[in-house]
């Protein structure tokens, strides 16, 4: 938004506009988020970005929906956000149960071929639905489920689950949870010698802090890549993902993460929809958003009729941590490094 304003703002139907961002801290508390969103509606704010986490996006989207104000968000992927008939809510990710199809396709290309899998999920809206999608897609892909573990939303110990994993070791262990929990599971796996042939953690390895915490042990862990600054998409404002990342680095000290790119893409999408609608009327912009099909720094943006990201256009690639960095290993066309397979045991990694 700062970049767009530095360029003199945006032209919508012949009028030049500067963008204004009103940022509030909901402290990851759904009830506080609901109060804040209602206050913004009362203040006649017309366009919303979402908060982080489906547990917050869900109740806040209900309020913006009732007020007929669009919300383009990159924080919630739970199916419930997109299956309750909401017309004004759009997501930068496919719904959770559709996010794993490309990863199953990748697993089927592996040689030697893994056959069995277990799933560990935490008890929150996104992770539970993501795990349900994993089980459905993996079984449809011919893989055999050993165990499906559900942990509380906030984990302080996973030793009993890992003891069970050691007793009934699957070829693949697939984790559906948020970053902090993923790190805890990985750390405890290493520190208890719990080795599986393939460890996949949907969220976590994307972050430099996760990879630094595990050091050499992170090597070979698979994860979903929602965005990579090396992609070659054209963006109407930044030109490319790389230039966006460079602009971000000039103004911030925190390492860039996919959340940042997805958030920026929400704003790009909004502006292009306003220009396509030739208006800043929320209802007209909503219709333009529904018809969006454009390239941005984040990738191709195209929504389903229910508002979530198109599973093919906006589905994740598969990444693997290699030499401390995140690399794209699938699809083959976007590969940035050679796949490490089979993955060595924890104590053999270097």
């Amino acid at each position: 938004m700062r970049f767009i304003n530095e360029q003199g703002g945006v032209d919508i139907a012949g009028t030049r506009y500067q963008l204004e961002l009103r940022l509030f801290d909901d402290a990851s508390d759904p009830s506080r988020a609901v109060t804040l969103i209602q206050r913004l509606i009362d203040d006649n704010v017309d366009f919303f970005l979402g908060s982080f986490g489906s547990n917050i996006v869900l109740p806040t989207a209900a309020i913006t929906e009732r007020a007929e104000k669009p919300m383009v968000q990159a924080g919630g992927g739970s199916d419930q956000i997109f299956t309750q008939g909401n017309r004004y809510v759009f997501g930068m990710f496919p719904r959770a149960t559709r996010q794993f199809q490309s990863t199953v396709a990748f697993f089927k290309t592996l040689n030697p071929q893994p056959n069995t899998f277990s799933v560990i999920a935490t008890n929150d809206a996104f992770s539970k639905t993501f795990a349900a999608g994993i089980v459905k897609d993996m079984q449809a892909g011919g893989f055999q489920l050993i165990e499906n573990y559900l942990l509380p939303e906030h984990i302080s110990d996973a030793s009993s689950v890992l003891a069970s994993v050691r007793a009934k070791t699957p070829d693949m262990l697939l984790c559906a949870m948020h970053d902090q929990n993923s790190l805890l599971i990985a750390r405890q796996m290493i520190a208890t010698g719990t080795h599986v042939g393939l460890l996949f953690q949907g969220l976590g390895p994307q972050l430099a802090s996760y990879r630094e915490a595990l050091g050499r042990h992170a090597s070979g862990i698979f994860y979903s890549i929602y965005w990579d600054p090396r992609t070659t998409w054209n963006d109407p404002f930044f030109e490319s993902a790389g230039k966006f990342a460079a602009y971000y680095a000039r103004h911030n000290t925190r390492p860039i993460a996919y959340h940042v790119a997805a958030g920026a893409a929400c704003i790009v999408t909004y502006v292009k929809a306003m220009q396509a609608a030739g208006s800043i009327d929320p209802v007209k912009v909503r219709d333009a958003l529904a018809a969006t099909d454009l390239e941005t720094l984040y990738g191709r943006i195209r929504f389903t009729a229910e508002g979530d990201g198109d599973a093919v256009a906006m589905g994740p690639s598969v990444g693997q941590v290699l030499k401390g960095a995140g690399e794209v290993v699938y699809p083959a066309g976007g590969r940035t490094a050679e796949l490490l397979w089979p993955v060595p045991a924890w104590d053999k990694k270097n």
Partner: protein, 294 residues
Amino acid sequence: MLALQTILDGLVLGGLYALAAVGFSLIFGVLGVVNLSHGAIVMIGAYLTWFAWHTTGLDPLLCIPPVMVVMFCAGYLYQRGLIQLAVDRSSLLASMLVTFGVALMLRNLLVLVFSPDFKSISAGWAFSFVRLGGGVTIDLVRISALGASLALLGALAYVLNHTRIGRVIRATAQQELAARLCGVNARHVYAVTFGVSAAFAGASGAILGIVLPFSPPDEANWTLNAFVVVVLGGVGSPSGALLGGLLLGLISTATSQLIGPAFPNAMMFLILVLMLMLMVRPAGLLGNAFAGSR
């Protein structure tokens, strides 16, 4: 063997819970204050340790003593400067509100200073483990955490039971007026107690940081855990906190193993409710006391 693994895991987790709760228990027992900023103080200990480890490369366990000293001073000033004022001007209930407000401020301060991203402390020995045979495995981090917790709890018990300041703290907790008549400066004792509590909360934060990734919102969980441990183990004593903590750890891992990994929190809450019922209405909500006990 699975049962042995569950018990071992439960004891290790319980040691963590106990150390994190002992400060809360001490303040509750001596000052009568329910310190709702306890979890935030635990988190500050974790962040201070992370900062010392990150900037100097010092082993995180060696960071514990300086962290305890800093936290003791901060706790002393916090009690004298804020909590005592709230108690003097209003009531113990007001102090609860004050600590709640401080918890919110500290949480946001941590976000401001350290960012909302999670942090973790990976000591050089963080990923080592010991196989005890029969598939039973225990990691060095958790063994160290349990060892450090037991050592610190033992030290606190020694101070409370065998030193002059410990006797003064206990005397003030039992009968403030009598202690004053004997020449004890009760305000100073309260502040020292709060300082000791903050030092132990800081130490537990350091140990938690070695074991778990952490972020500012975690403070609420550690206040809640401390509350459950204190209800289970009783207030004001390290041995009560140790017993409550170990019990909670065992309940947590046994529930996870026997009922399901999603249920430890539910079971902890159930136990808490049962204990509260036993304390408040031992005869049940609508029942009469058993005739033999009247």
